[in-house]
């Protein structure tokens, strides 16, 4: 896609995103009904859960990109994997921050070892490890290969982790459980927020990859400058 073509897509996406986010805020805070037991605090749900879903989407993208890199050895896939992992870490961090904000007033504790929160924590650790690993491999080809391998391992590990934690919680039940239920009147707001988050993910992904492309371009220019010296 040409430069101007790319800019046009970004502009449209950005506009859509802005509209989506404004709509999401409206839906979550004004349109959606007030929840019976938790009151307005429950509205955090409209951001907490979409963030979790978007985080998972990001990691799925990382998995696919990692696989494609090992097959094609094209650095574009590596850039995609990196961008997706970073965004996944960010969105999962949102989950980990909104969780305690939600939990404290309701259950009087900052952290509940609930399945979702615990799995999110481990997921966050996995992909933070991915980013850490990338940081310590100086050879770009090797870095791409090695992080692709780790990305694949992490993604395949994730369901097993989730399942193990879920089962473990069944054996050691905790008094506080998350309300996952959605009454029909809440669904529109949830849907809008979910779509808004996915748009945010898409937009940031494109921007991050453009950034990475720019970084590689600068490196190439630096190499050429060093050469002619």
């Amino acid at each position: 896609m040409s430069e101007s073509g790319r800019h046009r897509v970004d502009a449209v996406l950005g506009a859509l995103l802005l509209a989506g986010m404004v709509l999401a805020l409206y839906m979550a805070f004004l349109h959606a009904p007030r929840e019976k037991t938790m009151g307005d605090l429950q509205r955090i749900f409209y951001f907490h859960v979409p963030a979790a879903i978007t985080g998972l989407t990001a990691f799925a993208v990382n998995f696919a990109a990692s696989l494609m890199y090992l097959i094609r050895k094209n650095r574009w896939w590596d850039s995609l994997a990196l961008a997706a992992a970073e965004l996944g870490v960010v969105f999962t961090a949102i989950v980990l921050v909104t969780g305690p904000i939600w939990a404290k007033p309701v259950w009087f504790v900052w952290w509940t070892w609930s399945p979702r929160l615990t799995s999110s924590l481990v997921l966050w650790l996995l992909y933070a490890a991915y980013l850490l690993l990338r940081n310590y491999v100086p050879d770009p080809e090797r870095r791409a290969s090695v992080s692709a391998v780790f990305g694949i391992v992490a993604f395949i590990d994730a369901p097993i982790v989730w399942f193990s934690i879920r089962w473990w919680r069944d054996i050691h039940p905790a008094p506080m459980l998350e309300t996952g239920g959605l009454s029909p009147s809440m669904r529109p707001a949830f849907l809008v927020c979910w779509i808004a988050f996915q748009l945010l993910f898409l937009y940031l992904l494109r921007r991050r990859m453009a950034l990475e492309g720019a970084r590689l371009d600068i490196e190439q220019m630096q190499r050429q400058a060093d050469m002619s010296r």
Partner: protein, 234 residues
């Protein structure tokens, strides 16, 4: 058709270019001595040839006779650096037995002992390699690296740290290999030694080939002069 074909090889780490557009074709049975300052790219080049590292751009083809990537041509190559790749806690025989097994060579005890004697370590095969001097370890490393008598010998500063006896031994070994039709690429600092063993002299400077001549076309002094000029150009 050259045995080793190197097309526009490049390797970079961020803004640092170890190799930039390096072109070098090596014919079978040639002995190429690679010269260049530290950091000129010799080690990176040899590692890519050996399949130990992947290039950022360009390609290496080993025509064996079908064109192969270095990783696929490992059976035809031997790589020796100044690190010996020997297990210090095993004896010489145990080291060679291990490598022979993994190379798929059906060497029995007798053959292994022969290989050890061939590099001048006869009688000391049952000692742990930890007890060997640097020169002895390098001799064993030679036996290890070329146990399968590969077509292509890749050597990265093999004379480093060797005493006179070790140096003489390695000189004789390489000369014999060359005479026996082996293709050799050797990175070396000692200009006289590199000149003596080679039939082609290549200088790598700042990631590209700066000089590529047949040995017969220059005397040692002439070559040293040209080499010095290249090294001083900044």
């Amino acid at each position: 058709m050259p045995l080793i074909e190197v097309q526009e090889l490049a390797k970079f780490f961020g803004r640092f270019s170890a190799l930039r557009s390096l072109r070098l074709d090596v014919q079978e049975s040639q002995f190429v001595s690679l010269f260049g300052r530290n950091g000129a790219g010799k080690t990176t080049f040899l590692k890519i040839l050996a399949g130990l590292s992947r290039p950022s751009a360009g390609a290496v083809r080993i025509h064996d006779p079908a064109p192969l990537a270095p990783q696929a041509a490992r059976g035809s190559m031997g790589y020796l650096s100044h690190d010996t790749a020997l297990y210090l806690d095993l004896t010489a025989v145990e080291n060679l037995r291990f490598y022979a097994r993994l190379l798929g060579l059906p060497f029995g005890e007798r053959r292994l002992t022969e290989e050890i004697e061939r590099v001048g370590l006869g009688g000391r095969g049952q000692e742990p390699v930890r007890n060997y001097s640097r020169g002895m370890q390098q001799r064993l490393a030679i036996a290890r690296a070329f146990l399968h008598h590969p077509k292509i010998l890749l050597l990265d500063e093999p004379f480093a740290g060797l005493d006179q006896g070790g140096t003489d031994f390695l000189k004789r070994y390489l000369a014999a290999a060359h005479a026996g039709g082996k293709t050799c690429l050797m990175a070396i600092h000692d200009v006289a030694l590199g000149y003596e063993l080679a039939d082609r002299l290549v200088v790598i400077e700042r990631g590209v080939v700066a000089l590529d001549v047949a040995r017969s076309s220059l005397s040692l002094e002439e070559f040293q002069q040209r080499y010095r000029t290249i090294a001083e150009e900044r």
